[in-house]
């Protein structure tokens, strides 16, 4: 389902493109050096990301669909899609800020008090970056099993516990945290959603290195961490709806990411250069990768078309999330396979500066981050196909009486 821009959209696209050309560099087709995952490089990348966010904010592009009152452009979802499409041709540091904005921003706009919404402009400017303090050692897919405790002391919430797999907590200024404020009621009824300052005593962040070699996520230890009671979103013990709303946004974002250096077309180019396109099995596997890339794009275009018509997307976001993750991983494995023996090398010693090897190792952030593929399959079964849920034993009992593994 393809669709040309309307004349209005074409004008908008041209405006976006001109602005991007004036403010950013086009992305080169090849990496010039291996991806650098050292702490120093990551700190530089973080600063560059904040600068780019600031640049976008000043250009009026930081959040196209947000109301102007919160620093947004007051534009339409399709304008955001157009901006993302154009931006993907440029070598700009997006990633975490965009993900973070996409999660906490809409949640605050929907559930936040007027005071809480005052955080939005600084978020958009890139002055304050927010991390998501959700998963715990005992609460992964079953997020409602969080044990990090919050108790009220005067007009403050005092927080004790541990979070894990917290993306960018080592750099973030603020955090939104899911915690237990009442263990005597069933699990979903005793959860609160709070905003905290990451730069305070009692917040101890220990980076965890992923198999890819980057410091993507962290352990966060919280000891008597304090936040004002008016920083609890939607009220004490009423945090679960806010949490699920935030996760829906996260899934939608992750399903849409693309990287123009790691396309099937790039694979076909390199197979032609190395002469391997002469092999039938190579053509078949590359043809398959290409077809999947196009099908994924067609599915995204379907979502785009429903946004254009002002309808809810008519394909479930979990379909995109699962396919983006699984096909993306298969594509990276195929591209590395295509390198033959050289596929055993990586970094500067590998073809293409090891960009495909890096993608092979990036699998986890797509297949587990933002909800495991299995959780998304449950969602498809129960939400899209209306299949019955599993019988549950944890709905009605007080949280403190539930069985756990540790």
């Amino acid at each position: 389902m393809r669709r040309e821009d309307t004349s209005e959209e074409a004008v908008f696209r041209q405006e976006v493109r001109s602005w991007l050309e004036a403010n950013a560099e086009l992305r080169s087709e090849q990496l010039e050096a291996p991806l650098d995952h050292s702490p120093e490089a990551e700190a530089r990348a973080w600063e560059a990301m904040k600068v780019w966010q600031r640049t976008k904010y000043e250009g009026g592009w930081a959040a196209i669909t947000w109301p102007e009152a919160y620093g947004g452009r007051g534009g339409t979802p399709i304008q955001q899609v157009i901006f993302n499409e154009e931006q993907s041709n440029f070598d700009v540091p997006i990633g975490f800020i965009a993900a973070s904005l996409g999660m906490i921003g809409p949640a605050l706009m929907r559930y936040g008090s007027e005071d809480q919404k005052k955080y939005l402009p600084a978020m958009l400017r890139g002055d304050e970056v927010w991390c998501q303090l959700f998963s715990e050692p005992e609460a992964g897919s079953d997020l409602a099993a969080v044990r990090t405790r919050g108790h009220v002391e005067g007009d403050e919430l005092v927080i004790n516990g541990q979070k894990v797999w917290t993306t960018s907590a080592n750099f973030a200024d603020k955090g939104f945290i899911v915690l237990r404020t009442n263990p005597d009621v069933p699990k979903h009824d005793g959860i609160s959603f709070a905003l905290i300052d990451m730069n305070q005593p009692g917040v101890e962040v220990r980076p965890l290195v992923t198999m890819r070699g980057d410091r993507h996520f962290n352990e966060v230890f919280l000891t008597d961490v304090r936040t004002p009671l008016d920083h609890v979103v939607n009220g004490i013990d009423r945090g679960w709806p806010v949490t699920t709303f935030t996760l829906m946004n996260e899934g939608a974002f992750i399903g849409m990411t693309v990287n123009s250096r790691t396309t099937a077309t790039a694979m076909i180019d390199s197979a032609r250069e190395t002469g391997r396109l002469e092999e039938g099995v190579v053509r078949q596997r590359l043809g398959e990768a290409y077809a999947r890339e196009r099908v994924l794009k067609q599915l995204q275009d379907r979502i785009k078309a429903s946004l254009l018509d002002g309808r809810a997307p008519d394909v479930d976001g979990s379909v995109l999330k699962i396919l983006t993750s699984e096909w993306g991983h298969e594509r990276a494995v195929t591209a590395t396979w295509l390198q033959g023996a050289a596929g055993m090398l990586t970094g500067a010693d590998a073809p293409g500066m090891g960009v495909w090897q890096d993608q092979v190792l990036a699998r986890g952030s797509m297949a587990v981050g933002g909800g495991t593929l299995e959780v998304h399959r449950n969602g498809l079964g129960e939400r899209a196909l209306r299949l019955p849920k599993e019988p549950r034993f944890d709905r009605d009992k007080p949280f403190k009486d539930l069985k756990t593994s540790g």
Binding site: M1, R2, A264, T265, I268, D269, A271, R272, L277, G280, V282, R283, Q284, R285, L286, G287, E288, Y290, A291, R292, R294, V295, L296, Q298, L299, R302, A305, S306, D314, V315, D316, S318, V319, I322, L323, E374, H376, R377, N378, L380, G381, E382, A384, L385, R386, L387, P388, K389, E390, P391
Partner: protein, 389 residues
């Protein structure tokens, strides 16, 4: 409550058209009727159903211009009708006549094409016969040569894997000028089914509801369509369109397979709970949905590209066929598995869709053929792009 999936890219008129056809096939060609034809003779053809479908619903000529007695709609409407045939397994030659023969004849064109299209639109079923014993779907692989003497052209030899052969009043045969190779000298020739020297040999077919046949020609009189030696581009366009349309028919069957599996999983109880509440089954159902969504999106994109004459028409037809074939087979396999014993019992219908999925995956080229074609198309496009810049 049975599963109802949201449609996409269907205007209200088209949705109404689809609903009308769905009711028509449910009433006029229930699965009991499909089985009656299947277990009857080897023709795989219900003449009365085809008569009503052509004369009252106008399906035979739905995508044929009104100038030639058709309905003047586009390929999208034809794809909707084919989807309902795929869903119901109705034993009518809509794919063979309207998609294969109809599109290739229309694309080759020429003085006589109008009359042939008119006859297709009137419900005189036709089909395309081109593949030979080697089983290569590429028309460039055709070896049958014409024998031309004076005004007469005669064809001799065999064409294999002909779909809708028993319903056909006329065959459109791809053959070539003597001594020619590949696209050069490729031609399209009309042969009347009742002409002398024409025999149809029914084959025992894996797909019970759409049997195949061999067409034997022994000096059969044939008529050239289009200009001598210039048919290849039209033949290729027509086959690309037919490929896109085939994926739409396949998707119709896949939707039925998905609905059947999910409804079964919601109703069937074991261990005092619906089996669809077990993750092992729920995840299979989710995978059916994922395969279905990708497939129907790819099929729609291919049909729309053909309808709009998009330069990426060939590419998108191969994207769709290479993707929908294996997805359809996975779906039919797993849907059968979800249905347990029902899934492989003769008197239940799961195996009829499984058989169709297997056959359709091979029809007009399997995934490996289309994947290879994609790799070549993308590489040559990149090469041309690089040469130009």
């Amino acid at each position: 409550m049975p599963l109802e999936l949201q449609e996409f890219n269907l205007s209200e008129e088209r949705l109404e058209f689809r609903d009308t056809l769905r009711r028509f096939f449910e009433e006029s060609s229930p699965i009991t009727e499909v089985r009656r034809v299947m277990e009857g003779d080897a023709t795989g053809f219900a003449p009365n159903l085809w008569k009503v479908a052509s004369e009252e619903l106008g399906l035979a000529g739905i995508a044929i211009s009104e100038d030639f007695g058709g309905q003047g709609f586009g390929l999208k409407e034809l794809s909707i009708a084919l989807g309902e045939v795929g869903r119901s397994l109705a034993p009518i030659p809509l794919f063979a006549s309207a998609a294969l023969a109809g599109r290739v004849v229309a694309a080759v064109g020429g003085d006589d094409a109008g009359a042939f299209l008119q006859s297709i639109a009137e419900g005189e079923a036709a089909t395309l016969a081109w593949v030979e014993a080697h089983g290569d779907w590429d028309p460039a692989a055709v070896r049958m040569e014409i024998a031309e003497q004076g005004d007469e052209i005669r064809l001799t030899g065999e064409k294999q894997f002909v779909v809708g052969a028993h319903a056909a009043r006329r065959f459109f045969v791809i053959a070539r000028e003597p001594g020619s190779h590949c696209d050069e000298g490729m031609g399209l020739f009309a042969v009347e089914a009742n002409a002398e020297g024409v025999a149809i040999d029914a084959k025992e077919s894996f797909d019970l509801t759409q049997p195949l046949a061999t067409l034997r020609l022994g000096g059969a009189l044939a008529k050239r369509i289009g200009r001598q030696g210039e048919a290849a581009p039209g033949i290729r366009v027509g086959l690309d369109e037919a490929t896109a349309l085939l994926t739409a028919e396949m998707v119709g069957g896949m939707q039925k397979v998905l609905e059947t599996a999910v409804d079964y999983a919601a109703e069937r109880h074991q261990f005092s709970r619906p089996i669809g509440s077990f993750q092992a089954i729920k995840h299979k159902c989710a995978d059916l949905l994922i395969d279905f969504e990708g497939s129907r999106t790819a099929a729609d994109a291919a049909v729309m590209a053909s309808e709009e004459g998009d330069p990426e028409r060939s590419l998108l037809a191969s994207v769709a066929k290479s993707h929908v074939g294996p997805a359809g087979l996975r779906m039919a396999t797993e849907s059968g598995q979800i249905q347990g014993g029902v899934g492989y019992t003769w008197e239940y219908d799961a195996h009829l869709y499984y058989r169709r999925a297997m056959a359709s995956a091979a029809m007009l080229g399997d995934e490996t053929m289309h994947q290879e074609r994609l790799a070549r198309l993308v590489a040559s496009r990149r090469f041309e792009g690089a040469a130009q810049s």
